[in-house]
């Protein structure tokens, strides 16, 4: 137990409050958007990161004074917010509720990649332009940055309060938040209100980004993702949609993080946010100050738009499978075979996701977690226990299914966007556990020299052998999943997706069937992850990043939610087409993000339609 002196406690409190203020700024933006536009904005963190990078440029390259920097960042981010609302989301106003959520995910993806392309993925140093002496204030030691943060947050909160309370536009905002239709009938220009909300939220996010950059003296490309999750955590803690709640939530989060880091070490910093996230979702979904609203309507039921699947004749599928099987006989181009091997592995991930999200209606943004569990389990079994690969891959799949489902269990009672956030958080928690459980997973170093896959004693290492094995796995998994989907189990899953209230009224135990869906999906994804680990003979916490989950989602939507053939088509398309356009390689993920947004806007049922 570290020596806890009053001084240390005070220091940590100041730290916690300082960073809590920044979280509060992020959370306020999210709360505004949720309250007024009624949507969960996954792109908020990206704007925050853009603000940070902009601030870094202004200060480090152009040497601009801090005040001017803040103005520029606020204005630029406000503009970005307006653009996001106008071009990304406005046309989705009358779509199903899940559409804007997915669109913001695509936008976030694209923006993140844009920043990475422009500024490289490496962290950049952001020296603070403030004087570095510390101030003694009644026995406490604080820096100028802490003063700045506190001052700015106070000023912003006061300005926001004044705006919402005393200006006509502010009233319009509040009116729209309470009842959009009624406000419209009173002559409120709802579009203008939305644009203003996004502008204000983005500006706040951008400012918060600059402050964080100065606080930690660095800007880096995974800032956005963490900010989004922490913003959610703060928001959920305070009550989704409540601005005072966002402030309190942000401060609390900052304090908990600060004390936690002091007790457990810096590597655990991000873990607290995610644990709080899950904890709030499970025990207090309406947060500390949120209104106890009626449970939100489920999202996917309305998104799986009433469309008929494009009929694909069985002979075509068989023919395609045969072509795929005999491909290595025609060509031995290792590059092509490796690309397609990746396509098969991604197809399995897409199949698992389409089962959970498309058929059972549970939005999963953390599917990569199953891959990771499967990969690590299989690798560890072969390395530490010298188990044969044929056995370890299956145990890896089973553990992925069991463990993944267990971790998601608390999220089953949630509905609507909360499920999405919960799965995102769980996926991240899995990553954090892998990163920190050094005794087992080797932490950031990962597991190397994983034995290659074997089948009846033969090593599977040539591109052809690997290709055939993964294709075989895919076909087996697909057939098994098809059988389940065609049975009454599949029908029950689809009932849960369509209307879980009605399903429950007819005897369907929701938790049971959600668990079954995730477990089945976990088996398929676990197989894929396990093979991947052995194929690369190396795995670490970055082998299956969050981006993989989003990519899988894009594949599934591209193919058609719930449509199994669509899942494979989507996976193959998004794995192979970028290879064709090699020159786009750097922009690959940017393209994925844009594709997702375009799909949501113009063809939400995907290429082959939903089932």
């Amino acid at each position: 137990m570290p020596d806890i002196t009053l001084r240390a406690l005070l220091d940590q409190t100041i730290n916690g409050l300082a960073i809590g203020n920044i979280y509060a700024l992020v959370a306020i933006g999210l709360a505004l958007i949720f309250g007024v536009a009624n949507l969960i904005n996954f792109a908020h963190g990206s704007v925050y990161m853009i603000g940070a990078y902009l601030g870094w440029i202004c200060v480090t390259y152009f040497g601009l004074p801090l005040a001017l920097t803040f103005v520029i960042v606020a204005a630029a981010c406000a503009l970005i917010g307006i653009l996001i609302e106008r071009f990304g989301l406005r046309s989705l106003q009358n779509s199903a509720r899940i559409a804007p959520l997915l669109a913001t995910i695509g936008i976030a993806f694209a923006l993140d990649q844009l920043v990475q392309i422009l500024f490289s993925a490496n962290p950049q140093s952001f020296p603070s332009p403030l004087p570095s002496q510390r101030i003694q204030l009644g026995g406490v030691n604080i820096g100028w940055l802490d003063v700045l943060i506190a001052g700015m947050t106070l000023a912003i909160a006061a300005a926001l309060y004044g705006f919402l309370r005393f200006t006509k536009l502010g009233w319009s905002l509040r009116a729209t938040a309470q009842d959009r239709e009624a406000a419209q009938q009173m002559g409120v220009d709802v579009n203008r209100v939305n644009a203003t909300t996004f502008a204000v939220a983005a500006a706040l996010g951008g400012i918060a980004g600059v402050l964080i950059g100065m606080y930690f003296n660095t800007v880096y490309s995974s800032m956005s993702y963490q900010a989004t999750l922490k913003g959610f955590a703060a928001n959920l803690l305070g009550g989704l949609g409540s601005v005072p709640g966002a402030i309190v939530g942000g401060l609390l989060l900052g304090l908990i993080e600060s004390y936690g880091v002091a007790l457990l070490g810096a590597t655990y910093r991000n873990l607290f946010a995610f644990v709080i996230l899950i904890g709030v979702l499970v025990f207090l979904p309406s947060g500390l100050f949120g209104k106890r609203r009626a449970a939100p309507e489920p999202l996917t039921g309305t998104f799986v738009s009433n469309s008929k699947p494009v009929p694909v004749p069985p002979w075509l599928i068989v023919a395609a499978a045969l072509v795929a099987a005999f491909l290595p006989a025609i060509t031995t181009n290792p590059y092509l075979l490796q690309t397609l091997t990746n396509a098969w592995l991604f197809s399995m991930l897409a199949l698992s996701l389409t089962l959970v999200t498309g058929i059972a209606g549970q939005i999963s943004l953390g599917q990569a977690g199953f891959l990771a569990i499967g990969g690590y389990t299989s690798a560890l079994l072969t390395m530490r226990l010298h188990a044969p690969f044929e056995l370890s891959i299956f145990i890896g799949a089973i553990v992925a299914a069991a463990l993944g489902t267990l971790l998601l269990l608390p999220a089953f009672r949630l509905r609507g966007p909360y499920v999405a956030i919960a799965t995102l958080a769980v996926g991240e928690i899995i990553n954090q556990i892998i990163l920190n459980w050094e005794g087992v997973t080797n932490g950031p170093l990962g597991l190397s020299n994983i034995p290659p896959p074997t089948l009846f004693g033969l090593q599977i290492i040539t591109p052809t052998a690997v290709y055939w094995f993964t294709l075989g796995l895919l076909i087996v998994a697909a057939l098994a999943q098809l059988r389940l989907v065609r049975s009454h189990l599949g029908r029950t899953w689809r009932a849960v997706r369509e209307d879980d209230v009605a399903a429950q009224a007819f005897g369907v135990n929701l938790n049971r069937y959600k668990a079954l869906a995730f477990a089945t999906a976990g088996l398929v994804a676990g197989l894929s992850g396990a093979f991947t680990a052995h194929m690369y003979s190396y795995v670490n916490h970055e082998t299956f990043p969050a981006a993989t989950s989003i990519l899988a989602l894009t594949m599934v939507i591209l193919g058609g939610m719930g449509n199994m053939i669509g899942a494979v088509v989507g996976a193959v398309a998004l794995t192979t087409i970028p290879e064709v356009f090699r020159f786009l390689a750097e922009y690959r993920y940017l393209v994925y993000g844009i594709v997702l947004v375009l799909l949501i806007r113009f063809r939400p049922q995907g290429l082959l339609g939903t089932i």
């Binding site: 009932a495 009605a502 369907v508």
Partner: protein, 302 residues
């Protein structure tokens, strides 16, 4: 034999008492209608009976068992089926699939209730599909088609069409078919003819009558008094969360409290002499004395 017994059930929503100490008893084979103006708490009462909502006080007993703590899916397993006020079919599922979900609790796989092993068993069964499983599936399918046939040619020819493509009336019928597939002990119908034209309403009336003749126990929420009069053995009237009248259809119909609930209290700023000529043929509420009406007499007349 009392099949469904609701005792002093109460539900509050932040100060507003939606259901205020309501009790009712439904005997086997009986049809009870619950009527009342909008906002009286009828659907909330249904939600409390079926488990969609948790009561703040009171109990629900089905067949002698206390089901107050049970979740909706468990109540369905005990034979409680319902339709919804705005019709909740599974849009992207075919009509037949909708009905087959109704039969969910009657499958053998449903009995695999143990927490983890039951799940694995159900998964294995769905995968292996042994002959007994397949035979049951066919049997339930045939049964579902028989139920669809009950609606003459409205649903049967559309058995494989997705429910979202059906007309409103057919969607409501699909809901009823789904409820029947559960082979309910008690059938709760929430405004089954809402939004239907007279012909459709009449069809549903005959359908429910046929169910009655087969001995079905029905709890019905309805606004169309003609249906209520024709079908009900008893009528319960709710207003403002409370039961204000209960009894045979004709008695309830003429109950002044019921009339007042629906039509409101008549405020007449005239003396008794003119009053007689103006009032319709209903019994006057004795509380409407001229004494109490005097303040209104002072209001300026156009």
């Amino acid at each position: 034999m009392t099949l469904l017994k609701v005792k002093k059930i109460r539900r509050e929503f932040g100060g507003v008492v939606a259901v205020n100490d309501v009790s009712l008893a439904l005997t086997e084979g009986e049809t009870i209608s619950v009527i009342g103006p909008n906002g009286a708490g009828k659907t909330t009462l249904f939600n409390l009976i079926t488990g969609l909502d948790k009561p703040d006080a009171g109990s629900v007993m089905l067949d002698g068992h206390d089901i107050t703590r049970l979740k909706p899916d468990k109540r369905a397993a005990r034979g409680l089926a319902r339709t919804f006020q705005n019709g909740r079919v599974f849009g992207n599922l075919s009509v037949l699939d909708n009905v087959l979900i109704g039969a969910h609790t009657r499958q053998r796989a449903y009995r695999l209730q143990t927490p983890v092993l039951g799940l694995i068993a159900e998964l294995a069964l769905a995968f292996v599909q042994p002959p007994s499983w397949r035979e049951e599936r066919q049997r339930l399918r045939d049964e579902a088609m028989d139920i669809l046939a009950l609606f003459s040619d409205r649903l049967a020819p559309r058995a494989n069409q997705p429910a979202y493509s059906l007309s409103y009336a057919n969607r409501r019928r699909t809901e009823m078919a789904r409820a029947l597939a559960l082979r309910p002990r008690v059938l709760l119908l929430d405004e089954p003819t809402a939004g239907m034209n007279p012909t459709e309403t009449h069809e549903i009336l005959e359908f429910i009558r046929a169910l009655k003749q087969r001995g079905m126990t029905i709890l019905l929420i309805e606004h169309k008094l003609s249906l209520v009069m024709e079908l009900s053995d008893r009528v319960i009237v709710m207003d403002d969360g409370r039961v204000i009248a209960e009894g045979l259809p004709n008695a309830v119909r003429n109950d002044p409290k019921v009339i007042e609930a629906y039509l409101g209290r008549k405020q007449w700023s005239v003396n008794e002499h003119e009053q007689e000529a103006e009032l319709p043929k209903t019994t006057v509420n004795p509380a409407l004395s001229a004494q109490r009406l005097r303040p209104w007499a002072r209001r300026a007349r156009p």
